[in-house]
Structure formats: C-alpha cells, structure tokens
C-alpha cells in the first residue's frame, strides 16, 4: 500500500508523492479533530443549534445532519490517515469542504454574525475561518487530483508490465 503512494522514481515525483502523503495526513487530522470536537459535546442538539444559525435547512434536516456529520468526518479522517480508498475519500472530503466553504461564504456575505460550528461551539464565523476552510479545500483538491494521477500512473505501469510479459511469452 505504501509503495503504491510513495513509489521510487524521479526526484520531482518523489517530492510530489511526499506532498500527497503530507496533504492527506493533514486533512485526516483536521477531520478527526472536527469529529472529536463535535462528538465530545454533551448532545448532538448543540451542533444542530450551530447548524440552525446558518438558516439553510428545516429542523429535521439540521438534526439529521448534526447526527451524521461528525461520524462521516470521523470515517473520512480515519480513511485519509490510513490512505484506503484515497481517491474516493479525498474526493468526498473535497465535496464536503466545498459545501462548507460555500455555506460559510454565503452567511458571511449576508452579514450573519454566527458561530462557524467547524470545531464545536465558540468560534465566530470570520475571514480567518473562511481562509482556513479555503486553504483546506485547496489541499483537499490537490490530494484528490494527486490520488487520481498516482492511480493512473500505477495503472499505466501495470499495463506496460503485463504487455511486456505477454510479448515475452509470445516470443517463447
């Protein structure tokens, strides 16, 4: 598994693969912390209150989201840290972060003085939180692209090896 994502090759390739690993580690840690900060609250209803302040969804949806989102973040965090299903987990993380970024930007531009809700309760929505989410989105997007490129590269190598083996067998 590790060899798949950190293959030995040219210097540039090695650097990009190290960055890919660092990127997914960073994202994984952030998602784990986000999940932890929400799950440690005495009740999911507190997170539902934070979601409610965005005024985007009916109450049943806020409650459903408040229950599901921390577990999804936990699963994504673990998957990103371990590197399993990297293309899909990174793509899911990118979509999730893009939604967060869109919703937060909309609320900020609308002048809503609300809580971010990113890591539990207590952090106001501000340019700082927007910049942080934007940076995470950029990292997540880069990891997603990187994961797909690595997979394609790996696929090409496998095809070339099997073609060479076929040719060798034919010659024999």
């Amino acid at each position: 598994m590790l060899r798949r994502y950190i293959p030995i090759g040219g210097q540039a390739l090695k650097v990009s693969h190290v960055l890919l690993v660092l990127g997914r580690m960073l994202l994984g840690a952030v998602f784990l912390y986000a999940a932890y900060s929400k799950l440690r609250q005495p009740s999911y209803i507190l997170f539902a209150m934070a979601i409610h302040s965005y005024q985007l969804a009916p109450e049943w949806a806020e409650l459903g989201l408040a229950r599901a989102l921390p577990w999804l973040e936990l699963a994504l965090g673990l998957a990103l840290l371990s590197g399993i299903f990297l293309r899909y987990t990174a793509a899911t993380a990118s979509v999730l972060l893009a939604i967060f970024f869109g919703v937060m930007t909309r609320s900020y531009l609308a002048g809503q003085q609300i809580n971010c809700g990113c890591f539990g309760i207590g952090e106001a929505l501000s340019p700082r939180t927007l910049a942080r989410d934007g940076a995470l989105l950029a990292v997540s997007f880069a990891v997603t692209v990187g994961a797909f490129l690595v997979e394609r590269q790996h696929g090409n190598s496998s095809t070339a090896i099997s073609q060479a083996r076929s040719a060798h067998t034919a010659l024999e």
Partner: protein, 244 residues
C-alpha cells in the same frame, strides 16, 4: 492491487453504513411534529402583560427596594438547569431571541421550576441607547419590576432605538411614581457597577456578541451557539437533560 470497481462499491457501502449508524432524522421528524403541536398550545395560552398597579402597590414596591445587586433572575434557585443570557436591549437579535425563545421558555420551564434564568447585561458600544436601557432595567429590577421592564423595552425596541425615549416605553408597565424613581436611580449612575460586573463576567466567558447563552446542568457549564437558538431545539435539549 485493488480493483477500481470493488473500490467504489466498497466505498459506497462504507458511506451507507455510516448513515445507518448515525440514523439521521428518524426520531427527529416525529419530535418536530410534537414541538409544533405544543407551540400551538403555547400561543393560545400566552400570558397577558397588563401593568395596572394601585398606588398602595407602588408604595410597597418602592418601600421594598432590594439592597445589593438588582435581582435579574427568574425561576427557582433549586432548578436543575441554569441558563445565563448575556444580552443587549438594543440588539435586534436579542429582541427576536427574547420574544421567540425566552418567553416560551419562561412559560414552560422557568414557571414550572425546571430552569433558573439569569439575565446578564452586555451592552455593546455600537448601540447608542443600550447602556441607558440597561441602567433603567437594573433600576426597575431593584423594585422587583425586572421582567416587566425587560419585556416593555424589547416590545418597543423599534420605537425607542430611533429617538432614545426609553421612559416612554417603560411608562406602559410602570406607574408614574415608579418611573420617576427608576429614572432617578438610573441617572444617579449607581447601576453602572452592576452592569460593569456583568460585562466583566461576559468578557471572562469570551462573550463577543449578543445574545450569548451558557447552560449549566449537573455542575457542567456549556456555551450554546451565540446569536440566539430556536425554541424547539432548546426545548429538545432541555428535555434531554431533564430526562437524564
């Protein structure tokens, strides 16, 4: 090597499992319906706010002016849950929160001894009349008229925030004698100490905006999202805590 098709199928199954584990919204839908039904009942039985006091009652109120800090608490001191609200009388979000969340909370939980509600003043510098409003409400609280004064100021916020006529708003719930006394106490500057005490407490609790809420239950204090919370979510949370 991991097969791509297996990869995507396994991942989708993985996501599906997470959704099943968290069970979003199932119980929520039923409970939302319950809350809506109760809200209808509550509206039907909402309290009246008549402020006709006889002269004897006025004299009694003035005579029983409390020593020490004004009492801005509502409910039983032995209530299992305490909610502290930092608010600003000129803040529109505080008015909405007061009218849509705190009033029903007072009827359903404070009056029944389940919640002790504590008001804390946190006048924001951006609001021209909020400090004066806080002084007047503190002075009214000294003669036991806190709830009426608070309610009157929020109800007429649209009017007094334009011209600063706070006395006009309070005249609806205080007798002329009470109003004169409250105005005199407010203008004396004696209430500033109590307001500053609340502001300092708010600063120590990292309050940056109003309304900000803190809920204490079983010795543990948690901040609720600032800017106001919906009554139905708060009610759901209180019921959950009370059921523990």
């Amino acid at each position: 090597m991991i097969c791509r098709k297996t990869d995507s199928k396994t991942f989708l199954l993985f996501l599906f499992a997470i959704l099943l584990v968290s069970g979003p919204g199932r119980a929520a839908v039923a409970a939302t319906r319950q809350t809506a039904a109760k809200a209808g009942e509550r509206k039907a039985g909402s309290r009246s706010t008549t402020a006709k006091a006889s002269a004897s009652k006025t004299n009694k109120a003035l005579a029983t002016e409390q020593a020490g800090p004004p009492n801005k608490t509502m409910g039983s001191r032995s209530a299992p849950i305490t909610i502290e609200v930092f608010s600003d009388y000129q803040c529109p979000a505080c008015r909405v929160f007061y009218q849509e969340t705190l009033r029903p909370l007072m009827d359903d939980y404070v009056a029944t001894g389940k919640v002790l509600l504590i008001h804390r003043d946190f006048p924001l510098p951006i609001h021209q009349y909020s400090r004066q409003a806080a002084r007047l409400v503190n002075a009214a609280a000294k003669i036991g008229k806190f709830e009426k004064a608070e309610q009157a100021l929020y109800a007429r916020q649209d009017s007094w925030e334009k011209d600063g006529n706070l006395s006009g708003a309070l005249a609806a719930v205080l007798t002329p004698a009470e109003l004169a006394h409250v105005t005199q106490v407010a203008e004396s500057g004696k209430m500033d100490t109590f307001i500053e005490s609340d502001v300092s407490l708010g600063n120590s609790k990292q309050v940056h905006q109003t309304p900000s809420l803190f809920l204490t239950h079983a010795g543990q204090t948690d901040a609720l999202p600032p800017g106001g919370v919906s009554y139905s979510l708060l009610k759901r949370y209180l019921d959950q805590l009370l059921a523990q």
